[in-house]
Symmetry: C2
Subunit: 193 residues, 2 copies
Amino acid sequence: MFEVLFEHISKKISLQETEMERLKTFFIPKKYRKKQYMLQQGDVCKYIAFVEKGMLRSYQVDDKGSEHIIQFASEGWWIGDNYSFLTGLPASYDIDILEDAEVLLITQPRMEEMLQAIPSMERYMRLLMQHSLISMQRRIACTLSTQAEERYLGFIAEHPNLGQRVPQHMLASFLGMTPETLSRIRKQLLKKG
Amino acid sequence: MFEVLFEHISKKISLQETEMERLKTFFIPKKYRKKQYMLQQGDVCKYIAFVEKGMLRSYQVDDKGSEHIIQFASEGWWIGDNYSFLTGLPASYDIDILEDAEVLLITQPRMEEMLQAIPSMERYMRLLMQHSLISMQRRIACTLSTQAEERYLGFIAEHPNLGQRVPQHMLASFLGMTPETLSRIRKQLLKKG
DNA sequence: TCCTACCCTTGATCTATATCAATCAAATTT
DNA sequence: AAATTTGATTGATATAGATCAAGGGTAGGA
């Protein structure tokens, strides 16, 4: 159950065997079924989740009822509403399950205890946040400077597997376009070769 | 020279007097004049800067020559190309000075030494990254779900001072619209009341 | 095995915003 | 103070992508 997490951590820091054992005790393993909610807008985000298996998404629903996907999270990704988790205030995002999932949950107080108990995890968390920030900045730069087709091509180049696993209309939502537009773009691209 | 930095740090963690003195030794104070570059695309981002005074911006220039502003940084903000700083690879952004500035620079190796010497700074950095990530996610959600006018109103509501200090066409670039569009939006808003 | 979601596609039309172009105003340089 | 650059405004026109609407395929539940 902890394989993916340990692998992910060991790419950023190194932990001793005893620390790894200790680490396990802070997490709550949990399974979710497709279509379940992990978090609903307005509720407090009590847990941040690390995905061992399956796929989740976080998204925001606007006043017209359209969904805007903030993040997909498959194996090896963290997901949660950071702001709500950190502050205890109501979440602005929904999180639900796209493929049956196995996740590792941790609460805010347990996270604090973990960082006390295993100080090098503070570094892991810093690097994690830093990398997420970098990719968010890339996404903004991309949104500001490129057209729909280029955005789509960039996405599938960077996440070839996600392109397969996620329904096309969700991909469109993530990329900031309508499903119709994405469908037409793909048609165009097929014609071109 | 370190007032703003110490205040910013003390909002997230607490440092002892000796640690604060030690901290100073890792930074290089530097003054920049308006229009100077702090970083140019293609160069390696050797320093991350904390702004004590003045204003900077990071931006990307696309193939057509248009600028897309990623971030403004006034007093109390950090700025740099995180990716280049972290990896040592060429930067994708330009950074330049909008108002004469006093900044505190730190290199990657000195940053590592600092985190060793003052472990609680690791926590500060983690929280810093986490907050930046949260605001970037907000910006993406906003870009995906709202029209130009609403985006503008949201921005000036959150950063009333920046609205004054920054030329209008840069604000437009930050918000992902043309200067003409922003000008028309402001005209509309004046009419309304 | 049928039925009902759900998802993708395609066409017709509409609209927010971009682009192009010309002034005008203000600030910076000489 | 004149000259030059830089920024904001406004109008006319173009366009990427949204919206509306309909049809068809496919998978999972009863």
